[in-house]
């Protein structure tokens, strides 16, 4: 039966597909390493520093995005706007002191995403549509609140979020803290485990008595909190802010989540994987920059890489 072999050849046997995916990963990792290390100036302190910074800002958002993806809600298109809006809230409330401002900004991010998570969880609204509505509301609301003006710090204390400690950029320390917290929640807490179950099989989770709506809401709240941290770091770095600050961060974050290997359909993945994904994407961006590619080329190449990774995973999932 010629047709049988034709079909199985097309779909690839299960084990073979997995081995291919693994082989491609190793090859791609090796190629990236060679490509990066052979790029003049890649290992210079300046370049490493900027690499760490890039990883940190995107990374916080990507860690947050991981929770949305893992619970089976694909991605949020509103996290970039949440980054910007929390940055504005942080700057505006700096007059209260730096620590209260930090809390206010994080709380703001949490509330914004909690509302979206509740709509997705309790009402079963489509997560992408909810996030598009959230994006629109945030942009409109911010424009009304600020009158379209840039926001400058209302007080002192931005140093807490920039500079270095023991030679490491402070932003990177905050980012690693979010990675640790995020992975801790996923691996060591009940709600984290429930998130994986909800994302793996929503109906099975309901039948197992898991409060799926609450679980999804909490995942969104974490996404908001981590995005707000990114916003605070960006606000501190630039010393002022507007709604452009976090533009496009949601796209890069979802790219990082997928490159890391978290399943787009939910139910499997980890924050550590996202850390790897962010690092890969940031290295590619840095290498392209150092080799003199323009911004447009960087977008183009990053897009191609994400496409390739998604196709690779799709092949790996088939059995």
């Amino acid at each position: 039966m010629s047709n049988v072999s034709l079909r199985s050849g097309f779909l690839l046997g299960g084990i073979r597909a997995r081995q291919i995916v693994l082989a491609v990963r190793i090859l791609a990792g090796g190629a990236l390493a060679i490509f990066a290390l052979s790029t003049p100036g890649f290992t210079s302190p300046l370049s490493i520093n900027s690499l760490l910074n890039a990883i940190s800002f995107i990374g916080c958002v990507a860690v947050g995005m991981t929770f949305i993806t893992i619970t089976g809600n694909i991605m949020s298109l509103a996290l970039g706007a949440t980054v910007s809006a929390s940055a504005l809230v942080f700057l505006a409330s700096l007059s209260l002191g730096v620590f209260p401002a930090f809390l206010v900004a994080v709380l703001f991010g949490v509330v914004i995403t909690a509302v979206q998570g509740a709509m997705v969880g309790y009402i079963r609204a489509n997560p992408l549509l909810v996030s598009i509505a959230g994006l629109s509301l945030l942009i409109g609301g911010a424009a009304l609140a600020t009158g379209g003006q840039r926001i400058y710090p209302g007080g002192e204390g931005l140093q807490a979020f920039k500079g270095r400690v023991a030679g490491i950029p402070i932003e990177a320390l905050y980012f690693f803290a979010t990675v640790v917290i995020g992975q801790f929640v996923l691996s060591w807490t009940r709600i984290g485990r429930e998130m994986v179950m909800v994302g793996s099989n929503l109906r099975a989770a309901i039948a197992a008595g898991i409060d799926t709506a609450r679980t999804i809401t909490v995942a969104y709240m974490l996404a908001g909190a981590f995005s707000a941290v990114a916003g605070i770091l960006l606000a501190a770095r630039y010393g002022s802010g507007d709604m452009e600050l976090g533009l496009g961060y949601d796209y890069t974050a979802i790219a990082a989540v997928l490159v890391g290997g978290t399943a787009i359909q939910g139910g499997s993945g980890s924050v550590v994987r996202t850390l790897i994904g962010v690092t890969v994407i940031a290295i590619i961006a840095t290498v392209l920059l150092l080799r003199g590619f323009s911004q447009q080329w960087q977008y183009l190449i990053t897009g191609l890489i994400v496409l390739a990774v998604i196709m690779l995973h799709t092949i790996g999932e088939r059995r």
Binding site: M1, N3, V4, R7, W188, T189, R190, I191, R193, E194, V196, M197, S200, N201, R203, A204, A205, I206, A207, A208, G209, I210, D211, A263, G267, S268
Partner: protein, 497 residues
């Protein structure tokens, strides 16, 4: 010459051989029933004929010529049409649009007289001649939708119509409509393959019947040459022996008391008292309400009402969490859909309902969880070495054990609700699951299960409650019932009266 024939069809899914060397021949103007229990291979056979699966061995012959049916479109071109249980009509579109939807003959602009006339004629053939072509399908009853689907197949020159349990959710009047449409098709020279669990219908509408059991062809008979008892014997075989464990159950105190349970639109005024240490079986076909009763008790029916008490305490309906607090656990028949987390590890599946037990202030106690998973694996007979494997690498029977393990939690026995606990499970694993059920019983659990498998119902239950269209037909103690009575109850209780 036979219109459609299959010779020596064999199909394997992984290690399971689901169809073994099956051959049959269909003539024009024949209505052929295909009967068999769940897992007998009926749907696999249909899927091969309609191009969904390819056979591993054997041939399909159309008009005497061997063909390899590549996909459902190809089957349609060959004149083989399937009316599935989930209909493929677009509810928002009109009857006319639905009839021509996806037909390759139709040009870009299709509001032509010819198409209207053909549609009208096809509808008349299935007894819907008075139906306005512009009626949206969403306004039609399920029976009429099935008839529209038949009309659609007619316009595509189908010669073999395959109907998969068309009457499962219909009323008597509607069933009669379908039957007269099928008789009309037959006089037109068409062939019908009629898959059903309802034996009464085999003798009402079919000329001949093919029986499958465990993937094997048991035989094909003309319906005027056999009676119900013969047919049942063919379906069940005579190997009931060692399948079911021996036991002496002593009814304990009443554990679950249900009064006036209603699950619209099917179940009404349902009462049940279930004791500890007993297996109560709700026997019924699709649409009997047995499944709906279980889902309601598990908190999974959003519109259930009634008075349910577990161990004397009122159980709030419509909440899974409340059911679990009351130690009421549910095992779904839909393993992939809601029974098992297929993409998670075996260990996580086993302790899915026990995270709360093994966590403190929201933090998981991994040691406790690991121990619980290992212990549960042993209790339900899953190899401990597989705790770290992904659940979808397990066989159907082992996956079902995971669902049992998940339900087992805690030392205090509760109520276990099982829907078709052995669906799609092979014979060996079946016996293990029956043993498990008895173990639960001996530990003082109260088990309520729904099953449409009569052999299983008779083999495992202490009490049998037969159900038909949302109500109880009769209740039997162990030994009081036999195959004929239960089958009569759940297929057509009027006949029994």
């Amino acid at each position: 010459m036979p219109i459609l024939a299959v010779e020596g069809l064999t199909k394997r899914f992984g290690p399971n051989e689901v169809l073994k060397n099956v051959s049959l021949t269909l003539e024009a103007q024949e209505i052929r029933a295909i009967c068999g229990e769940n897992g007998a291979g009926k749907s696999t056979l249909v899927k091969i004929i309609t191009g969904v699966h390819l056979a591993d061995a054997g041939a399909v012959l159309v008009d005497g010529h061997p063909v390899e049916i590549l996909n459902p479109q190809h089957a349609q071109q060959l004149g083989i049409a399937l009316v599935a249980q989930e209909l493929s009509l677009a509810p928002a579109l009109s009857v006319l649009d639905n009839i021509w939807l996806g037909n390759r003959e139709v040009p870009l602009f299709h509001r032509r007289k010819r198409f209207r006339e053909q549609a009208q004629k096809a509808l008349a053939n299935v007894g819907l001649g008075d139906l306005p072509l512009e009626t949206p399908v969403s306004q039609l009853s399920i029976a009429r939708r099935q008839l529209v689907e038949l009309a659609r197949m007619l316009t595509r020159n189908a010669r073999v119509f395959i109907l998969d349990e068309p009457t499962a959710t219909l009323s008597d009047v509607e069933i009669e409509r379908i039957f007269s449409a099928l008789r009309a098709l037959k006089t037109e020279g068409k062939t019908v393959i009629y898959i059903t669990h309802r034996l009464g219908e085999v003798f009402q509408i079919c000329d001949s019947v093919t029986v499958l059991r465990n993937g094997e062809l048991i035989g094909t008979r003309r319906t005027n040459e056999i009676d119900r008892a013969n047919l049942m014997e063919m379906m069940l075989g005579r190997s009931l022996g060692e399948m079911y464990p021996e036991w002496n159950s002593e009814p304990g105190e009443p554990m679950l008391v249900v009064k006036n349970l209603a699950v619209p639109p099917i179940v009404q005024n349902f009462d049940l008292t279930a004791q500890r240490g007993m297996v109560i079986c709700l026997a019924g076909q699709v649409g009997s309400g047995a499944i709906e009763v279980l889902r309601a008790l598990a908190g999974l029916a959003y519109n259930a009402t009634g008075d349910v008490r577990v161990a004397g305490k009122t159980l709030p309906l419509r909440s899974v969490a409340a059911a679990q607090d009351a130690k009421v656990q549910f095992i779904s028949e839909d393993r992939a859909g809601e029974g098992v987390f297929l993409r998670l590890r075996v260990g996580w599946n086993l302790i899915a309902t026990r995270l709360a037990e093994h966590s403190r202030f929201g933090m998981l106690a991994h040691d406790g969880l690991r121990a619980a998973a290992a212990e549960t694996a042993t209790a339900v007979g899953v190899d401990r070495a597989r705790l770290r494997s992904q659940a979808d690498e397990l066989s159907g029977g082992n996956q079902q054990k995971l669902a049992f393990g998940r339900a087992l939690g805690g030392d205090e026995p509760g109520v276990l609700l099982m829907n078709e606990p052995t669906r799609g499970v092979d014979v060996g694993a079946r016996a293990e699951i029956y043993r498990l059920i008895r173990q639960f019983c001996n530990r003082g659990y109260c088990l309520v299960m729904a099953s449409s498998d009569i052999e299983e119902v008779l083999g495992i239950s202490d009490v049998i409650v037969s159900m038909y269209r949302g109500r109880r037909v009769a209740t039997y103690r162990r030994g009081e019932a036999d195959v004929h009575r239960v089958l009569a109850d759940i297929t057509h209780p009027v006949e029994a009266a």
